[in-house]
Structures are given as C-alpha cells and as structure tokens.
Symmetry: C2
Subunit: 312 residues, 2 copies
C-alpha cells in the first residue's frame, strides 16, 4: 500500500458476503483497495447472531469513516439472509445490477446487490454473488462464456453485455458427498491432492468427455477398478475429480458452445484443474482471480450508485 | 404349506447372505420351500460377531436336520465375508456357477457360490448375489438383458446362457446420499412416496432420457425449480428418482440395446417404478420377483452339486 493510497478519501466499502465467509475491502476513489477484513461470519453464522453487528465489527477493523457507504453482494441478499434483494431475471444486462440494489434499514448507507434468476420452467436456475463477478470480468460489450468452478459450478452465456443463459452444476458438492458418504469413501483418500496425480485426473477426464452419459456407472467403476487391482486408492480423488469435472464440461460445451471465448473465474488448485480440463475440451481459456472479480464488480456497481465519490 | 411338502425330506438349505440381511429357506427335493428364516445379520453384522453362530441359529429356526447341506450366495463370499469365494470372470456361462462354489471349514457341508468379475481395465465391474438371481431367471439358452434395480443397479447382457457384459449404476445410493447430505435435502421430503407422484416421476424421467448428459445440472435444477416456485417440495423425491433412474436407463439402452428381451428382477415400489421407466424407454419388459430369483438360482446350482438329493 502506498502513502498516496492510504491518505486518499475512501469511496466505499465493498463486501462479498457468502454462505460461510465474509470479506470486506475499504476502496479508494480510484478503485484500489486501502484495507481488507475477512472472517467466517457468513450467512449461516449471521442467521442466528445477526448481520448488523458483524458488519459494524468489520467496518471498525477496516478503519472506515462513519459516512462511507457500503455495497454488499452475495447470500446476505437471499431470503434467509439480512434483507432479501429480489433476483433480476434473465435476460438482463450486467450494467443493470446496481439498479436492483436494496437499501438496508441500518446505520449509514448500506445496499445489497441482487442475484440473478433464470425463471424458465425448463431451465430454472439462480445465482447470488457470481453476477457481481461477471460484472467484474466483462466489458460492457462482452460476448462469450464465463465458467465459475466451485461447490456449485456456474456456466454463463453473455451476449453484448447481457446474461442470456446460465446453468449450475453440482460438481464440487457431489465430490464431497460421494467421497464422504457413499461406497466411494473406500476408493477416495480424503486428503489426497488431485494435483499430484495429474495422469489419473487427465485419464478420467478424457473418459468422461468421451462417454458423458455414463456418470452413475463410472462412479461405481472407480470402486470396482480398485477391487480388481486396475487402479490405486491414492489416485481415487484425482479420478473422481476428473470424472465430475469432465461430466460438467461435456454437457456445458454442447449447451454453451466451445467456439466462443471463455473466461474462467478461479484460482489455486481448482483453477488449475479447470484450466487443464477446459483446454483438453478445446476451449480457449482466459483465467481471472475470483476475489479480484468480486471486488471489480462491486467497484463498477458502486461507481454507478455513488459516482461523485469516485475520480473519473 | 401342504402336508406333503412338510413331510418330504429336505434337499438343502438355500441362503441369500447380503451386506445387511440374511435369508434362508429349507428346500424340498422338488424345489419347493418348506420353511423360511430371515434376519438382519448381514455381512457387516457378522464381520464382528462371526458367521458360523448366525448360520447355526437360523438352521435351528428352520428345523433343518443335521446332515442337510447348505448353499450360500452373496456377500458372505466376499473378501471381507466368511470365506472368500473368488470371482468367476466374464464371459462365463451361468451354469458354471456351481463349479466355483467354495467349501467352508465348519460343521456339515456348507458351500458359498462365487460372484462375477468383469476384469477389463475399461469396464471393470463386480457382482455378488446377482449372478445367482441371473441363473434363477434364465433358461440355459437365454439371450437378452437382465436389469436388477437397487442401491447398485445391475444391467447384464446374456448371450446363449453366458454373461458377456455387465454394468453397475450407483442409482439407489446416489438417491440416498444426495437427498440426505447435499443441498437437495431442502428439496426432497425423506418420507415422500414416489408412487403417489406419478406425473412428477414421469416428467423428470422423460427429461433425463432426453438430456442424458446433464445429470449434475439437473440435480441443481431440482432445487432452483422449487426456489422459483415451478415445482413443489412434495414432488421432490419423485423427481429425483425419475432423474436418476432416467440417467441409468438412458446410458444402459445405448450400451445394452433396447431391442432384446429384458427381464426385470425387482418387486414392490422400485419394481413398479422401473417397469414404468423401462416401458417409457421402449423396452419389452418381463418382471420377476427378486427373492424367488435368488431361491431358484440356488436350487439350480444345488441340483448340480447334490443331484441325488433331488427328484428328477
């Protein structure tokens, strides 16, 4: 942090308030961060302890002046969150996000950005938090695909800055429940790093891409292959990961197309796995950091709400 | 039970010893049952308490004479069971099952039938117990498909009495872990009867048959559809069931073909669901009772081992 940054008047506080995590940044008028505060007080925690005291503590932690406004994205705006910020319905331009922000009846100017809903009976879907990342990583006229891997992976088709289709895949959550609660607990080592077993990951990824309808059979085969000594338990986590990520990508590339540019919002281990997997499935990938995406999205929306607080 | 049956000399005791259940029948020389004894002392229970005392108690319950031989199928023959009965490898004729039976070093003549293994690196698979049901429901020259729904559903291609290919789908287990341990716990009522929600079952079955690559997305859609008020929680179990059974059948009909005759080994609620689902997928279905299938298979194998004890 430079001296110039710390002396600048803060423009607003950016908050990414998820299901099980809280992250806040004090942001300067030029869009740079001046301070950061994070904790485990996500929506689930606050549903019992309350949201206002958690925000107050983090604002103090950040050293935020009393009159600085706060913009929040994520699960704090869910029905079971602080105040419900009703979903914007697709198709919608990402630049319209700020207009759906809901003011919270609390000290100061605190607003929560809406999530997105795809209210189609054949393809119902919802997101909260990812819409702000989308705003953060796309230009106003962007046309292409964004992939956000995670517990519930999101794939989004954007056309000239408007979200026109999206889908959620239960990839990360299936990995967790199947490796902890099914017969595959015998086939997957809980602590195994999938990165250390690159060949196993790529092999089962290729198998899933080649046979995308056979997931529930392929899951059992992970166990049978070890019983019959074709595979080792130490590779189990990498193979399960390749299988689930491969199933996701096999379906998504048909629905969203592999010919458009793809922005991957992810970092660390999962980002690397998806980079390798998307390249194997012939996508042209451009990787972005997830936290930076949230912050940039919050800055773009805040500029539209409180323009005078920002330098042009 | 007729007087003639109960006075006949018993030929053998048929035992289906599964992971979590035990079922035994005292069988007459004409292949009819004279008595039945069942309990929860499956392999998991016996792994700590021992197998021999459990069998002794049930033989007493059946009133079996001391010299009557015992033929067992199922998990008692697994590596973690009583005595390992090594897998027969496919392709194998079902009539060869009896030749793979392993004698147990205990009181009397007690033998355990082997399971089947498909020892192919690309399609590894195993079964224990179902091979005896296959023997029970097929004629020596049978050509066709057998489907055995359950926790781990089995599909088997039989050619002139020989098992040439089979696959296991984790359908029932996925239903359990996903509805109990994932976000879908909010979308599925644990006690809901799927039979009472026939339209919901058929709708999601049709969707899965039409889009067989999108399972991990369709799972999340179950939740999103309820959040957006397109569907009701009371239909959740039926929809999840239709989705998983549809995914299984969509893959199996490509691998095993829908043009051959299909024998469905199942009864009760699950049998009815599969009957409806297989008919919707254009299979020509012939339904058989699962317990009867096991008993008939054990009788066929016992006749080959102890022929003199049976009437021709």
């Amino acid at each position: 942090m430079t001296a110039a940054d710390s002396s600048a008047t803060p423009a607003f506080v950016a908050v990414d308030w998820g299901t099980s995590s809280f992250r806040a940044w004090l942001m300067a008028g030029d869009g740079t961060e001046q301070a950061e505060s994070r904790g485990g007080e996500g929506m689930l925690h606050c549903a019992t302890s309350g949201f206002a005291p958690v925000l107050r503590d983090h604002l103090a932690q950040l050293g935020a002046p009393a009159d600085v406004p706060v913009l929040i994205c994520g699960m704090a705006g869910a029905r079971q969150g602080w105040v419900e910020a009703p979903y914007l319905h697709t198709p919608t331009r990402l630049e319209a996000l700020h207009a759906g922000a809901i003011g919270v009846d609390t000290e100061g100017d605190v607003r929560i950005l809406p999530g997105l809903a795809q209210a189609r009976a054949d393809q119902p879907d919802v997101m909260r938090g990812e819409e702000t990342q989308l705003l953060g990583v796309t230009e106003p006229d962007f046309t292409g695909i964004v992939c956000i891997p995670g517990t519930h992976s999101k794939w989004i088709r954007i056309d000239a800055g408007a979200v026109i289709d999206f889908a959620t895949y239960m990839t990360g959550e299936l990995f967790a429940v199947v490796s902890q609660h099914s017969i595959l607990m015998h086939a997957v080592e809980p602590e195994a790093s999938t990165v250390a077993h690159d060949a196993a990951f790529r092999e089962s990824l290729a198998a899933a891409l080649a046979a995308p309808t056979s997931l529930t059979n392929a899951l059992f085969r992970l166990r049978a292959a070890q019983l019959l000594n074709f595979e080792q338990r130490s590779d189990g986590a990498a193979r399960l990961s390749g299988l689930l990520i491969g199933s996701e990508i096999a379906d998504a590339r048909v629905r969203f197309g592999a010919e458009l540019p793809l922005r991957l919002i992810g970092a660390g281990r999962l980002g690397r796995l998806y980079c390798a997997a998307l390249a194997a499935a012939d996508f042209d990938v451009n990787e972005c950091d997830a936290e930076q995406a949230s912050r940039r999205g919050l800055v773009k929306a805040a500029r539209q709400i409180w323009g005078a607080r920002f330098r042009p």
